[in-house]
């Protein structure tokens, strides 16, 4: 863990990856007074803290293993018929069926959100399964589209341009302002993709 300065009211904590970032963010929300706790791919931003020095001290009380409470589990039914599914399977050296099996067997965790409200970066795929983004993004990706980029999986909450490799689509509502918790996949949430209709 390394703590970097981020202006007069914030610090950026570097950790060992997205899952650790999500875990530290969960801990920080309980133990630290910060206006915003924002996990990233390998960092947690603690913004709006009275004293960065005091936060540095408090962070000494956290260790990657101290936090064990798992987040809630959300099952997401997916129709695996995305335009890039064959590409992903080929890159993995698998049949399409085996690629789908891989995607449904892994337990994913929402590591952080970004890009759009409710867009969660789901970690849990192995680094060696990384897939590159499209060289030029699609001008429109439908809401509910399930995509891969690097070792992350993501589901588009709203229609937008996008460069993720699309493997399927889902009908879950990821972002709903009428819900108490508008984001279905807030950081820390565990996610399992399931083949729709099975």
């Amino acid at each position: 863990m390394r703590v970097r300065p981020y202006g007069p009211r914030a610090v950026l904590v570097e950790v060992d990856g997205p899952l650790q970032a999500a875990a530290l963010a969960g801990w920080a929300r309980e133990h630290l007074a910060a206006e915003e706790v924002v996990p990233g791919a390998t960092t947690v931003l603690l913004d709006g803290v009275g004293s960065p020095a005091a936060v540095r001290e408090a962070l000494a009380g956290w260790s990657p293993r101290a936090d064990a409470a798992p987040g809630p589990l959300v099952e997401v039914p997916v129709v695996f018929d995305g335009p890039d599914l064959a590409y992903v399977a080929e890159r993995w050296g698998l049949s399409v069926e085996a690629a789908v099996a891989r995607l449904t067997e892994v337990e994913l965790t929402s590591a952080f959100c970004g890009f759009a409200p409710g867009f969660a970066y789901l970690a849990g795929l192995r680094e060696e399964w990384s897939v590159p983004r499209l060289a030029s993004p699609r001008p429109r990706v439908d809401p509910g589209s399930v995509g891969l980029a690097g070792a992350f999986c993501g589901i588009y909450p709203t229609a937008s341009p996008g460069g993720w490799r699309l493997v399927g689509r889902s009908e879950v509502v990821l972002w709903d302002l009428d819900r108490l918790e508008p984001a279905l996949l807030a950081p820390g949430t565990r996610v399992r993709l399931r083949e729709a209709g099975r």
């Binding site: 007069p8 009211r9 913004d47 952080f112």
Partner: protein
């Protein structure tokens, strides 16, 4: 009461102090870009400082005669104001009763703030009435023909307690988390002469150096930064060696190095800097 919008200029939005606290869900903070000016407008008509006001970009707003009279105050960029057919003062409450209210183009600055005595009663989203142009949250930008819900109270004018004169100066910089991605980042930011690009908006003030671009440190040549959280006022250096000062509607995470942070009390200047104008930095 309901007030009809007749013209909006390039962009008029509803803004309050935004919706902090949701960055982890990917929700920008949003809110008025020139916070002190928005708070002053609200205060002058007796609204709480966090109340929603109109943020008018480069003038051009015209509201039809109000169904009921109310107090109004206009602050921020000094746009010429007429109401009921008469010129009205800047940063001072005035009584608006019978005719249209109109803002001309300001001679300098970008954003003016209009507070209506009864307050704007558009529905809040996640605790804020602010329009977020990046995430598309909150009310849509105003369009001609829109009808604004305004509280029935006429407001309570506050006698002018010397609306402070604001003097623009250099934007003060604090070190950011990735200062080491650019050799002597703060020194170079402060030494360079920067010009405001037309692509600047509520998301960020985009700057181009008049002399040399900021060079990436050799240790990070071609390196990619995994997405990480960003704060208000973060100064990001994209690969082209320019600089972006992030404002209220900034994305919650970004993948280019943030080398510095503009002091929050100086951000109103970033909100009022026009394309083509010069901006400079100094160390806080």
């Amino acid at each position: 009461m309901r007030v009809r919008v007749e013209a909006t200029g390039p962009l008029t939005t509803v803004q309050d102090t935004g919706r902090p606290g949701y960055a982890a869900l990917g929700v920008p903070r949003s809110g008025a870009l020139d916070r002190p000016a928005a708070a002053l407008a609200a205060r002058l008509v007796g609204l709480p400082p966090r109340a929603a006001v109109l943020e008018v970009t480069l003038g051009g707003l015209r509201l039809a005669a109000p169904p009921r009279p109310c107090w109004v105050a206009v602050t921020g960029a000094r746009a010429p104001v007429t109401a009921d057919g008469r010129a009205r003062p800047h940063a001072e409450a005035f009584w608006w009763a019978t005719g249209p209210l109109e803002l001309g183009a300001p001679a300098d600055g970008v954003r003016s703030y209009v507070a209506l005595g009864g307050g704007l009663e558009v529905a809040p989203v996640l605790g804020s009435r602010s329009t977020d142009v990046l995430a598309g949250l909150g009310p849509a930008p105003l369009a001609p023909g829109d009808v604004l819900p305004v509280g029935d109270a006429p407001g309570t004018p506050v006698a002018v307690d010397v609306a402070g004169v604001r003097r623009p100066g250099l934007l003060r910089l604090h070190p950011g988390p990735r200062a080491d991605w650019v050799d002597d980042a703060l020194e170079r930011l402060c030494r360079a002469r920067w010009r405001v690009l037309p692509a600047s908006n509520r998301v960020g003030l985009r700057l181009t150096p008049e002399d040399e671009a900021l060079p990436r440190a050799a240790a990070y040549a071609g390196a990619e930064l995994p997405s990480e959280g960003m704060v208000l006022g973060a100064v990001q250096v994209p690969p082209d060696g320019g600089a972006v000062v992030f404002l209220s509607d900034h994305p919650t995470t970004g993948g280019y190095p943030v080398v510095a942070v503009v002091d929050e009390t100086d951000l109103w200047q970033a909100a009022q800097a026009r394309p083509g104008e010069r901006v400079g930095f100094t160390r806080a």
